[in-house]
Symmetry: C2
Subunit: 366 residues, 2 copies
């Protein structure tokens, strides 16, 4: 749960659906959401110190993907996130490179969401014990993620804390900037006629893994099996490294026709609510459940409402553009390495995120 | 263990000392230091991507307290660290405000060590469950730390991950900058005649807690007892929040007579080795073991060598200055809130950190 940015990382309850056995709520799994909300509120009630201007001037962007601060003549964006429980899956499968990529991706994709160019990352690995093979794979993954994001490694911290951590907790913090007069892309300029483009994900990325693991079960055997229609095991599908959207943001952030970016991370389509409060995001062309997502829904008895607010459901990054810029934006995304970009919806008068073909509406982000 | 900055967070083995019962090695406690070193090497062999100059230019400062990157017209310093196992002590005692202060202090004191002014912090809390009272206290502590550092909170991440974390793991990442033409203070200008000033700590700060907890034992009863000569319980003494040295760095970083800063964190006096390779740091006036430190040494049967490379031994921050600047530096530190600053040693020809009155020499940082 990202505070200040007001983002929840908690998988929502899995709704009961008749005819399915595997029905569980996250509350039953030991996490009390109301207590968690109260705890977050207690933290936030006390924590928010704002320094005098001689220490830099924070740029107010509540609820957004990154914190911004004006330092001298530059605006710096900062974001922090972890891979979360995806590392438990990596441990079960004994494959860690994807976790390294994700540690970069979860952070640089958040920078991309405000139009910041990634500059540097510090990684943090807290673990029960340091396994050379695991660390080598994580290192290789971090390198891959950094190279794709054109982001330098500035340092890192590895803590061997067997009394605190079971397994391996992997995260990082990234800083970015706005080159040559670029302005942050915040969604504030979104209008009720804008078009929403969606760039496909490579799977679940690093969100919804707790729910997915509960649905699949933790056994290696089940993770090594294939679902109908897939050439890879379910475990491999779940572990697939996140797609990185930095090049998409870079291709569009300087264009006046671009009005918003949203990284579809924890919270699913509700992430769009972070961009602009006074409009309706109509997702009438977002993909229906398919492939792994459909299989998880069927196997776990997950309602559509839960599905679209837990998983990215096939789209990892959304771009809001002016209608007149749509064709040029798609061309630029094609050239930047995203030829598979789709139109997923549009902005309209009203409020919330709606999926009319499912009769679904989401009104709040967290 | 901070990689790239090449810093170890592992408590070193506790050497056997005749006549004491409580003798343990960290290896025996489940951490294999050789394996950990191999793992770190494996991570570092793969991880170090450096982006093209259009993404900012990292400033080479290997082994130092912070990563530096030139972004546009500013140089940004980044550091990341956690409170580590001190949170286990907090849990036992049910007191969390100090942990919040420490989450800020471990980071801003590292920024202070390169002369960077703290600008913003993001905090990361990973925990088994979110307790409103715990979060409120941590929030209050973070606020205190930020206010004293004049550093804004830019965001944070709270992950409720009962499958990954036992208790509460608290850390953060801080960014800083160099106002109005200030140059980073790296130690590179240190000369063989410089004087070493030491600013007292408020106790163990957030380092050496694993060893201290093993010495004291985990029982509440032992933590609630007092050692001879103290008005507070051992638990309270151990939990005391870190002192923050930002104002010391700010008072001296712009002065040409200031040549180096060292935050005495994990690694104890060996931290001085991070400043300059070709000189000897002679700590002939560093305090002898006293108070809590002496009591831990006696109770745990800890050798002097281990003591001074595990705990800060009463000095939390060291400043190297030109001899001609010593009096003015002490005056400035007095005015900045550090009237208790001592001369702890001097720089001399040679190598390593030496404590002549104990016949001790440390030759490597990690």
């Amino acid at each position: 749960m990202r505070h200040l940015f007001a983002r929840t990382a908690l998988p929502p309850n899995v709704a009961r659906r008749p005819g399915h056995r595997r029905v569980r709520t996250y509350a039953a799994a030991g996490v009390d959401r109301r207590r968690t909300s109260r705890a977050l509120a207690a933290l936030l009630a006390n924590v928010g110190y704002r320094a005098p201007a001689t220490s830099g001037r924070p740029v107010s962007l509540p609820g957004h993907y990154a914190g911004l601060i004006r330092i001298g003549r530059e605006t710096i964006a900062v974001t922090t996130d972890t891979v979360g429980t995806k590392s438990i899956l990596a441990e079960t499968l004994g494959r860690w490179e994807e976790i390294g990529v994700d540690a970069v991706a979860v952070n640089v994709n958040d920078l991309a969401s405000v139009g910041a160019r990634p500059a540097g990352l510090v990684d943090v690995i807290s673990c029960r014990r340091a396994d050379p093979d695991v660390f080598e794979q994580i290192g290789r993954g971090i390198y891959r993620g950094l190279r794709e994001s054109r982001c330098s490694l500035l340092g890192g911290e590895t803590a061997i804390v067997p009394e605190l951590v079971q397994g391996v907790d992997v995260g990082g913090t990234a800083i970015g900037f706005f080159p040559e007069g670029r302005r942050p892309v915040t969604g504030a300029r979104i209008r009720r006629t804008d078009v929403l483009l969606g760039i496909p994900s490579t799977g679940l990325h690093a969100n919804g893994l707790t729910l997915a693991r509960r649905i699949v079960g933790a056994s290696k055997r089940r993770l090594r099996a294939r679902r109908p229609g897939s050439s890879r095991s379910v475990g491999e599908e779940l572990l697939t490294a996140s797609r990185i959207y930095v090049a998409a943001s870079e291709a569009l952030a300087d264009q006046s026709g671009t009005t918003g970016f949203a990284h579809i991370s924890g919270g699913g389509v509700r992430n769009l609510l972070r961009l602009h409060p006074g409009v309706q995001f109509v997702l009438d062309r977002w993909p229906r459940p398919f492939g792994l997502f459909q299989w998880l829904a069927d196997t776990g008895g997950v309602s559509l409402e839960e599905l679209y607010q837990t998983f990215n459901m096939g789209i990892g990054f959304v771009v809001a553009v002016r209608p007149s810029f749509e064709a040029e934006a798609l061309r630029r995304l094609w050239r930047a390495g995203y030829p598979d970009t789709l139109v997923v919806g549009h902005v309209a008068p009203g409020e919330g995120v709606t999926m009319p073909h499912f009769d679904l509406t989401y009104r709040s982000y967290s």
